[in-house]
């Protein structure tokens, strides 16, 4: 039981979730308010602050997860290969730098988006203002999620390629430069995400004025 606690935990959590969904769904249906299960209502009434702040959270957290996974993969390979071939240590730090850059992209977007966050009074605002605030909330969510997910996968891929580069370099020094080109392509992907995120956030206008 102790050794298989991963399965126990996942099954019990999943089972609890399914039970909750079934019970609440049946409650709604059997009390004649089935039409209250309404995703449209949810999307319309949810405050845009939830979307905006979740987008900012995704921007930085998913980017950092990607960077961390990348550094974990490539770092352990560099250290492992460096035992028998110490010359690879300094040159292969460039892979780590590529992974770190991914985290910095996420941080930049998060700071830019957080600077655009502003409060508005829904009771006093005109419908255009309210619509603009809702658009800003959705745009911040989209921008943050885009950047976060792109940086997550970019970081993982750069890490795996960097790990391969370190071990190949340890075996044969001439291979390093060729594998570095692969790594550069992997890193460019993260840049694409940053560009799209910046584009989306350029039209954001939150607040009363």
């Amino acid at each position: 039981m102790a050794a298989r606690y991963r399965e126990t935990y996942i099954y019990s959590f999943g089972g609890l979730l399914v039970a909750a969904v079934v019970v609440f769904g049946l409650y709604y249906i059997l009390t004649g308010q089935g039409e209250r299960i309404d995703i449209g209502w949810f999307l319309e009434t949810i405050t845009p602050y939830m979307w905006a702040t979740t987008g900012i959270a995704f921007a930085v957290s998913l980017s950092v997860i990607g960077a961390a996974l990348g550094i974990y993969t490539t770092g352990s390979s560099i250290i492992g290969g460096g035992v028998k071939a110490p010359r690879i240590k300094t040159k292969n730090l460039i892979s780590v730098i590529f992974c770190e850059a991914v985290a910095i992209y996420g941080l930049i977007i998060a700071i830019v988006l957080a600077g655009m966050l502003d409060k508005y009074d829904p009771l006093k605002a005109s419908p255009e203002k309210v619509a603009l605030n809702y658009f800003s909330g959705f745009a911040m969510f989209g921008s943050g999620l885009t950047v976060g997910l792109v940086n997550l996968f970019c970081g993982i891929s750069v890490g795996i390629v960097g790990s391969g580069a370190a071990l190949a370099d340890a075996a044969n020094p001439s291979l390093f430069v060729k594998i570095l080109i692969v790594e550069i392509f992997g890193s460019a992907v993260g840049l694409f995400g940053l560009i799209v995120g910046i584009l989306m956030s350029s039209r954001i206008k939150m607040g009363d004025i």
Partner: protein, 447 residues
């Protein structure tokens, strides 16, 4: 000798105070009255003597006589009647005070004999709205004060009520004399008042109840029924565009309910609430008077749901000496869409309708001028099958949007936790060199 005189004086004193108690002497306080009359505090007057003393100074048009149930000299000493004191001090003419007057219940009759016409005022509807001609006395009964813990609160409430009513009268009449007295003395013989305090404390521990609570109205017509329920009085909030403060008017009188109830085939109906004679309330610097208000709801059904399409309001209000009259002002109603056969139910204080915007040429301006707020409201205008409301369709659902947002974000965090725990399950200790049968590896520590 000395003990004898002591006993005699004691007996005389008891008789004297006993006489005072039996005779039920009540203090009388008058303000805005220009009199030089003086009262001997050791004697008690009766109502005729009192009126005789002050009748020359009462040569005004209007006398407002506020009758409480019980009053005593001690009440004037405490701070409970401070609102009344500050009102009296504001007046130009002086005040007059008689600490013990008997038969104060006969004061209206005595004044009538002196040539006044007596009007008994039951509510604000009876207050005169135009200057009065001829000598008139308005007898206004104040709510009961009751002995016990709540007496202080009730005295304060009463003195606020006196101030309010007096201000209204002063704004409409040229000159008003105010008289404050009661039917009985609140300090009777000590053991009787103790008994009464014990009884009243046991009987009633709640403060004075609000009068407008849990009101149910219905319309019954051939085509159907309409049920309406107010848990507390709805509030009409009105604001001038240039001001920032709202004047709140509590609609705490029974309205006239009219309207047409329809069956589903005709598809529209109307509910009209007409209010008259309302009580002004609100912050002290924004007091006013709502003379009439008429609220109409246009109802309709469509595809198994009923809606409140539109709310129109007519009102006449006076705030800070400025009068506003609105006719057929269309308010924006909050989204009320309920399945047929069910009632719309809303417990918390919520805005039923408000004046949201108007189109001014090319510019749409947003100004909240009127808000109709309900506090506990239930309405079923169609398909009332039994003698009670259909199931309530609440204005606040079981899961509100905030709860959904929190659930979704909580699930995201729970997924993070799940991933973390699964990563913990992958932690392996290095066991390549473990051999239970071989020699234990030892490392000698060298200095």
């Amino acid at each position: 000798m000395i003990p004898l005189t002591g006993i005699i004086s004691l007996v005389v004193f008891t008789l004297f105070s006993g006489v005072l108690c039996f005779e039920n002497n009540v203090p009388v306080y008058m303000w805005n009255i220009d009199t030089d009359a003086v009262v001997n505090p050791l004697h008690s007057l009766n109502a005729e003597e009192l009126v005789g003393k002050v009748s020359l100074s009462l040569e005004r048009k209007l006398v407002a006589l506020f009758m409480q149930d019980e009053l005593s000299v001690d009440d004037f000493k405490s701070n409970d009647l401070s609102a009344l004191k500050s009102l009296a001090e504001m007046e130009n003419d002086g005040t007059f005070y008689a600490p013990s007057v008997t038969k104060t219940t006969k004061l209206p009759e005595v004044l009538e004999a002196a040539g006044y016409s007596v009007v008994y005022v039951k509510s604000h509807q009876d207050l005169p709205t135009s200057p009065v001609v001829g000598k008139t006395v308005l007898v206004i009964d104040l709510p009961a004060t009751q002995l016990g813990d709540l007496r202080k609160e009730n005295l304060q409430l009463n003195s606020n009520a006196i101030t309010e009513i007096y201000e209204i009268l002063k704004s409409q009449q040229s000159d008003v004399v105010g008289i404050f007295t009661a039917k009985k003395n609140s300090q009777l013989q000590l053991d009787e008042s103790r008994r009464r305090i014990a009884r009243s404390a046991a009987a009633k521990s709640a403060p004075r109840e609000e009068t407008y609570v849990d009101k149910f109205y219905n319309i019954t017509q051939d085509s159907g029924k309409l049920f309406l329920f107010f848990e507390k009085a709805p509030i009409l909030k009105i604001k001038d565009e240039n001001k920032t403060e709202w004047a709140n008017f509590t609609l705490n009188v029974d309205p006239d309910i009219t309207g047409t109830v329809v069956n589903e085939t005709s598809k529209t109906g109307v509910l009209v609430l007409t209010y008259k004679g309302l009580v002004p309330s609100g912050p002290k610097n924004d007091s006013g008077f709502l003379t009439k208000a008429k609220i109409s709801f246009r109802l309709s059904t469509k595809r198994g749901y009923w809606y409140i399409n539109e709310t129109t309001i007519d009102f006449d209000v006076k705030i800070n000496d400025a009068t506003f009259v609105e006719n057929d002002l269309v308010l924006v109603t909050t989204d009320v869409s309920t399945p047929l056969g069910r009632s719309w139910h809303c417990t918390p204080k919520s805005r039923l309708a408000s004046y949201g915007y108007y189109f001014n040429g090319t510019i749409v301006k947003y100004t909240n001028k009127v808000i109709l707020e309900t506090d506990g409201f239930q309405l079923q205008p169609f398909k009332v099958s039994k003698e009670k409301f259909g199931d309530g369709y609440d204005c606040v659902g079981f899961f509100t949007e905030g709860i959904w947002a929190a659930i979704i974000l909580g699930l995201i965090i729970a997924m993070m936790l799940a991933w973390a725990i699964s990563m913990l399950a992958d932690v392996r200790t290095p066991d390549r060199y473990d051999d239970p049968k071989g020699k234990t590896i030892t490392i000698t520590a060298t200095e």
